[in-house]
C-alpha cells in the first residue's frame, strides 16, 4: 500500500464528482466555468494539505497543475488563494505561455466570474476608482506594453458591450458576464494595490509574463467605466455585508455532521437537543420544591420574585435538586476522552466495518474501504484487519 495510490484514487474521486456534478450545475444554471474552477481549487486545497503526492502536483510537469497560459484565467486563482499564488504554477516552468491549461474552455472568450476577497469591498472599490483616474498617466513599465499585443477581447470592446447589460442588471447571466469583463479591467489594479507582500509578490511574478487585456486600452477613458465602478461598488458592498455569513458554512456543516456521527453519546450536553428536556425537568423539580419559584424556561410575567432572582441563572452544582450524577456533568472526563482531539489533524481511520469480534479483552475487527490519516499523510485501503486488547 503505497502512499502514491492515494493521489490516483483522489484524482479519480475528483473526476467522478465533477462529472456527476455537471448536471447539478446545469440544473441550477451555474456555468461550467465555475465547475472547472471548483475542480482546480479543490485540487489546490488538497495539495496544500500535503497528505500525499497528487498526480497534478508539479513534479514532472503534470498538465493538471499548470495554470492557464492566458492571464485571464489564471488571475482569479491567484487572487482567491493569494497566499500561495505561485507555488504550484511556476515551479520549473519559465515560460507560462507554453504550459497546458487546466481550464477546459477557451480562456479568452469565456467569461470568468470574479469576485474580490470578501473584506473591504467598498474601500477597495473607491480605491479602484481613484486609481483609474490616475491611470492615464501611470505607466507601469512592461505591463502596459504587454497588453498591446493582446488578442481577442480588448478593453476597447468591453465598455461598449457593457451598456446594454447594465440596464438589465437583474439578470444573473449578464451580471456574470459583466463581472468577467470587470475582472479583466480591474485585475491588474487590484494586484498593484494589495497590501499583502505575498500577494504583491505573486502579482509581480505573474504580470511580466502574462499579457493582460486590461492594458489594451491606452487611448482615453472607457465611457462605461464610471457606471461600472458605481455598480461594482454596490455589489462589493453587498458582498461584504452578506459574504461573511456564508463563509465556512459548508465546512461547519461537515464538521458538525462528522462530530454528530462520531459521538452520538458524547456530544457536550448543552449542545444536545435533549439537554433542553433535562433542564426543564430539573427546573420543574426545583419549582415544585420551592413553591414560589418560576422555572427559568417560563418567563415571569406577573408580580415580583425578588427572592428568586438567581433562579434563571441556576447552575448544576447550585441546584440541590439535580441528580448530581456524573452523567449530568458536561465537562466530565469521559466526554473529553473521545472528543478532545483535533479531528482534522489527529491520526484517524475512517472506514466501514465488516465484523467486530471480542473474546474477553481481545478484539478483532475487519475494516473495509478505509482512509487512514497518520502523521500527516494519508493512505487508503480496501481491507484492514485489526487486533487489539483492551
Amino acid at each position: 500500500m503505497t502512499n502514491h495510490l492515494v493521489g490516483d484514487v483522489y484524482a479519480r474521486i475528483i473526476d467522478e464528482v465533477v462529472d456527476q456534478s455537471q448536471k447539478d450545475f446545469d440544473e441550477t444554471g451555474v456555468g461550467q466555468q465555475t465547475l472547472s474552477e471548483l475542480r482546480q481549487e479543490w485540487q489546490v486545497k488538497l495539495s496544500q494539505r500535503g497528505v500525499a503526492h497528487m498526480p497534478w502536483d508539479p513534479k514532472p510537469a503534470p498538465p493538471a497543475a499548470q495554470q492557464a497560459p492566458n492571464g485571464v484565467s489564471s488571475l482569479p486563482l491567484a487572487t482567491n488563494h493569494g497566499l500561495q499564488p505561485s507555488s504550484y504554477a511556476y515551479d520549473g516552468h519559465g515560460n507560462m505561455t507554453n504550459g497546458g491549461t487546466r481550464i477546459k474552455s477557451e480562456p479568452g472568450t469565456e467569461p470568468q466570474y470574479f469576485q474580490p476577497p470578501p473584506q473591504g469591498g467598498v474601500a477597495r472599490a473607491t480605491q479602484l476608482a481613484q486609481e483609474y483616474s490616475q491611470r492615464g498617466g501611470l505607466a507601469l513599465p512592461g505591463q502596459r506594453l504587454q497588453g498591446l499585443h493582446l488578442p481577442g477581447q480588448s478593453a476597447h470592446q468591453a465598455p461598449q458591450q457593457q451598456y446594454s447589460p447594465q440596464q438589465h442588471q437583474q439578470m444573473m447571466q449578464q451580471q456574470r458576464q459583466q463581472a468577467a469583463l470587470q475582472q479583466q479591467q480591474a485585475q491588474p489594479r487590484i494586484k498593484v494595490e494589495t497590501d499583502s507582500p505575498q500577494l504583491n509578490q505573486g502579482a509581480f511574478q505573474q504580470q511580466p509574463r502574462q499579457p493582460n487585456p486590461a492594458y489594451a486600452q491606452t487611448d482615453g477613458a472607457d465611457e462605461g467605466l464610471e457606471e461600472w465602478q458605481a455598480m461594482l461598488a454596490q455589489r462589493r458592498a453587498a458582498h461584504a455585508a452578506q459574504g461573511q455569513q456564508a463563509d465556512r458554512m459548508m465546512r461547519d456543516h461537515v464538521m458538525q455532521s462528522s462530530s454528530d456521527l462520531q459521538s452520538g453519546l458524547m456530544v457536550p450536553l448543552d449542545e444536545q437537543p435533549n439537554r433542553l428536556l433535562n433542564k426543564k425537568r430539573r427546573t420543574g423539580a426545583a419549582a415544585r420544591s420551592s413553591s414560589t419559584a418560576a422555572g427559568p424556561s417560563v418567563p415571569q410575567l406577573d408580580g415580583d420574585v425578588d427572592d428568586e432572582d438567581e433562579k434563571p441563572t441556576i447552575k448544576d452544582e447550585d441546584d440541590e435538586n439535580a441528580i448530581n450524577s456524573d452523567l449530568d456533568d458536561p465537562d466530565e472526563d469521559a466526554a473529553g476522552a473521545i472528543n478532545d482531539d483535533d479531528e482534522e489533524f489527529g491520526d484517524n481511520i475512517l472506514c466501514t466495518y465488516d465484523k467486530v469480534q471480542r473474546v474477553k479483552n481481545k478484539w478483532k475487527c475487519t475494516l473495509k474501504d478505509g482512509v487512514m490519516s497518520l502523521n500527516g499523510r494519508e493512505w487508503v485501503f480496501h481491507k484492514g484487519m485489526g487486533e487489539f486488547e483492551w
Binding site: 500500500m1 495510490l5 484514487v9 479519480r12 474521486i13 467522478e16 464528482v17 456527476q20 456534478s21 441550477t28 451555474v30 465555475t34 474552477e37 471548483l38 481549487e41 479543490w42 486545497k45 496544500q48 494539505r49 469576485q115 470578501p118 452578506q242 456564508a246 463563509d247 458554512m249 459548508m250 465546512r251 461537515v254 455532521s257 462528522s258 456521527l261 462520531q262 459521538s263 452520538g264 453519546l265 482531539d341 482534522e344 489527529g346 491520526d347 484517524n348 481511520i349 475512517l350 472506514c351 466501514t352 466495518y353 465488516d354 478484539w363 475487527c365 474501504d369 478505509g370 490519516s373 497518520l374 502523521n375 485501503f381 484487519m385 485489526g386 487486533e387 487489539f388 486488547e389 483492551w390
Partner: protein, 112 residues
Amino acid sequence: MAANAQQGHYELYRGTSIGLALADTLDDLISSRRIEPQLAMRIMQNFDEMIAKVLGEKVKARLTFKGHLDTYRFCDEVWTFIIKDVKFKMDNAQQSDGARVKIVACQSKDKV
C-alpha cells in the same frame, strides 16, 4: 445519521482531507456567491457517493494493525475505537506507528 437518506451513502468520508478540501472550496464559492448552498450540498452528496464507489472499486490495498484498545464505543451502528501504540503494516511490509489513532467505522454496506 451517517447516511444521507435519499441515496444511502455515508457522509463519513467528508472528514478526510479530500472531503475537507472540497468543503473549503465550496465554502469559498458560496461566500463569493457563485453557487448556492443547495448546490454545494448536492456536490457533497455526489462526493459521498463517488468516494465510496471509487474506494470500493479502485483500491486493493490491505492493512493490518495491532495495538492497545483504549476506548471503544458502538452507537447507532457506528464503531469508534481509540487505539494506542498502534503498529500498522501495509502490503509492502511498510511499517508505521501511531501513538493514538481513532477509528470511526460505519457498517459496511454489503451487510445492510
